[in-house]
Symmetry: C2
Subunit: 468 residues, 2 copies
């Protein structure tokens, strides 16, 4: 018995794909992923129409999706994040039905509950055996964690593993087990390693970034949370990494033994693990080569499913136990609502990912962003898109000052007592506009091109088409 | 946020237990388990009635169940195995409704499909954090794998973790994740370590056992399966362990690199892993201390769920890829049907466990048993209970000869060619009866005290009450 089939086409035929079905993909191969394009090209060649693509994220490498949308091969799109290449086209209105944006926790929740039932999951796996026990840790296309793919594997009616590294049965260090897998396809190459993971990302050298990082670190330090048992998530941007570095120095100096680092994992968090700042890393996605090596070799560095990471309907998720998270923003308004879906002109170029999940769970949710970007204030009266509601955001850190959500008077007092430059968010907006001028109002169209579905399942905002 | 509650009683109340519900238990603490008794005593004290207990296995330590059955606290019982202490009472007819016996693969299949929906799963966990990430590998009551408990955790409406070793969040090397857990209860002691795992079991010194083991080893050797990639399951009995030892010697001498050892794992299989006979161990249950240490420390020794081990409705299970399995029998009939549920007098003292699952999956299913036991022939005209159907059994090995199922003419020829003492199963029966005399017919009652539900979901046999 073997589940190996000769070609992707054969797997698609055996799965009984039909027009109108929902097919799914994960994004662990990031901007190096060949699998989504490979499958969509095949189903397009086979003449299928009216498919819904549910992909945990869509990157710029997935630009061929635009053609499939225009040809009506794809008429529904559900993602947690969308890069600018596809995003710009969606914003311009190429699709009749609005895109549904979810969060990294909301997506598996809706798959598990049957709100978005997956007909066929196509799972890129850097290693698999002939029965479908598969892993992201090994092989030339290694990506580390396969966290986002579990909900697809465990709930899709049919599951196809696509690998470029077929190993002897059993792949004992499996992430997804054969119990969920229908077919295995071996191809030459599932992705481009240079796009799957980056090398070690450099910490910012930009003085503005370093200033923000320094303030952010001090906010954590004086929040009351930085003590034994401290848990932390940060991003992969230059300033976020600088916070990790600064935090590490403080934790080592003060001998603080944290509990866990979480999220998309970088080499900086691996450093913190190895140097004893954390007991463990809970990893839903690896961002760089060091993280991939670490999850493969260090038993304290654990793969977790997207549901375990952040599902709002799991009996609990790790975000519920998180102390501090550092997040970005393209815009934040004076009610602390954050936009990470569109740029300041309203073009889609992002998405929540785990933004709104971690914000809802963490005891300290900090937005770290420069006061101005591309000659526009980051602080606005009203964000073009509410990705993360203001009542889950505690503090905004800019290089020119720190604004605390009025809901967190306790925190504001702590930061003031520590001598940090705490200011009102309205004052930050004025300060920015003093530099950039008052931005002219963005006029968008009347058509909904995307819905932002918050982790509670409700539409929190609707993104309108841009006008050329 | 924490899921810790102060007492078992509080957890039961919070879960909303009601008369008539189905509650479940796993048996990894084996004959040292305190949890099933602890919970049943509590629910009995609380006045509940008419509960169905679904336990992967019931051991002699669970004898207090008899009282709960007599008091109608328990009116339904579903198990994969039942030791003689409870079994004798069931056989005598203390329960109105027949016990449902399933297999280790059939049980999770029926839980997952909703045929036996679990209202509350009580999961004994040798370590857990306050959110319910738990493991069997650590703690004073360590039992290793928690393989049988996954289906319960993943599908029960409410899940209670009962631990005697509360660890800091997160228990990163979790088996069952917090996503499935409602409450955590910390008690003094979940079990008695001496009953949970044995020390290293000794290989038999009995010449009959050694003769059987020698024949069994030769059957494998000449089956055509013993080559690179070979996979194997054996039990924990003295003769089974001797086969493991003999096989190891052959594999090392002939430099055969097997793929995996599976099942309930003993130190003998750990030896085979460590000495390179297998690439990995797939472990649904640890039988001894060496296995527990190995699963904790050796990344090639993997915990697998009961579904992954043996579910007939999983998209595949490891049994489907198994080469050879060695199994026991209390009786085998001339059609090769095997009884492991009752003794020769019809008293319940066992159950399928993984018997029928591995027999269905393995390329070579071998029953190893002495020709006579307690002055009765092991070979009979018709087994008192069909646990495993004869068409899934390939060969019977006794100390006095080897009988091959007529369905396996190919195998019979191979063994004859190798000079092994191949004989007809009817001749083995005659040989035994020449020693023991023809057994007198067992007369059983007319009441069904248990149904044997085969892995396809159908009742394969019914066990009748014994007559005093």
């Amino acid at each position: 018995m073997s589940k190996l089939v000769k070609s992707l086409r054969e797997a698609i035929q055996l799965c009984g794909l039909k027009d109108g079905m929902r097919i799914s993909f994960h994004h662990h191969l990031r901007n190096g992923d060949h699998v989504l394009n490979m499958v969509m090209e095949e189903v397009s060649d086979m003449g299928y129409r009216d498919l819904t693509v549910n992909a945990s994220s869509v990157f710029d490498i997935h630009a061929p999706l635009v053609g499939h949308i225009k040809n009506k091969v794809v008429t529904g799109l559900e993602v947690n994040y969308m890069g600018g290449a596809v995003g710009r086209e969606i914003s311009s209105g190429i699709m009749e039905k609005p895109v549904d944006f979810r969060s990294h926790g909301g997506r598996p929740s809706h798959i598990e509950s049957g709100i978005t039932p997956i007909d066929i999951a196509f799972i890129a796996a850097p290693s698999s055996d002939n029965m479908g026990n598969c892993s992201g840790k090994y092989g030339k296309s290694a990506c580390g964690s396969l966290g986002y793919a579990f909900a697809d594997a465990m709930n899709a009616k049919k599951v196809v593993i696509i690998t470029d590294n077929l190993v002897d049965y059993p792949l004992d260090d499996f992430s997804i087990s054969e119990t969920y897998v229908d077919y295995v396809v071996c191809v030459d190459k599932i992705g481009d390693p240079t796009g799957i993971v980056s090398g070690t990302t450099k910490i910012t050298r930009d003085p503005v970034g370093l200033m923000m990082a320094s303030y952010a670190t001090k906010v954590i330090q004086h929040s009351g949370l930085l003590k034994d048992g401290f848990s932390f998530q940060t991003g992969a941007g230059g300033a976020s990494l600088a916070v990790a570095k600064y935090l590490k120095e403080i934790m080592l100096k003060e001998n603080i033994k944290g509990s866990f680092g979480m999220g998309g994992i970088t080499g900086y968090l691996v450093d913190m693990l190895e140097e004893g700042c954390f007991q463990s890393l809970m990893d839903v996605q690896c961002f760089d080569l060091r993280a991939v090596k670490s999850i493969r070799e260090n038993p304290r560095h654990r793969e977790v499913t997207a549901s375990h990471y952040a599902s709002p309907t799991a009996k609990s998720a790790i975000v519920d136990s998180l102390d501090a998270v550092i997040l970005g923003a393209t815009q934040i308004d004076t009610d602390f609502n954050v936009n990470v879906h569109t740029d300041s002109n309203g073009y889609i170029m992002g998405g929540s990912g785990g933004h709104s999940d971690t914000a809802a769970g963490a005891k300290l949710t900090m937005i770290v962003a420069p006061l101005t970007r591309a000659r526009l204030s980051i602080v606005v009266d009203k964000v073009l898109c509410v990705s993360t509601p203001g009542n889950t955001v505690d503090v905004l850190v800019t290089q020119r000052g720190i604004a605390v959500n009025p809901l967190r008077k306790d925190l504001e007092q702590r930061l003031k007592d520590a001598g940090l430059p705490v200011t009102d968010i309205h004052d930050l907006k004025k300060l920015a506009e003093g530099i950039t001028g008052v931005p002219k109002k963005i006029t968008l169209g009347n058509r909904a091109v995307a819905n932002v579905i918050y982790r509670d399942g409700k539409i929190i905002d609707t993104i309108k088409n841009t006008l050329k």
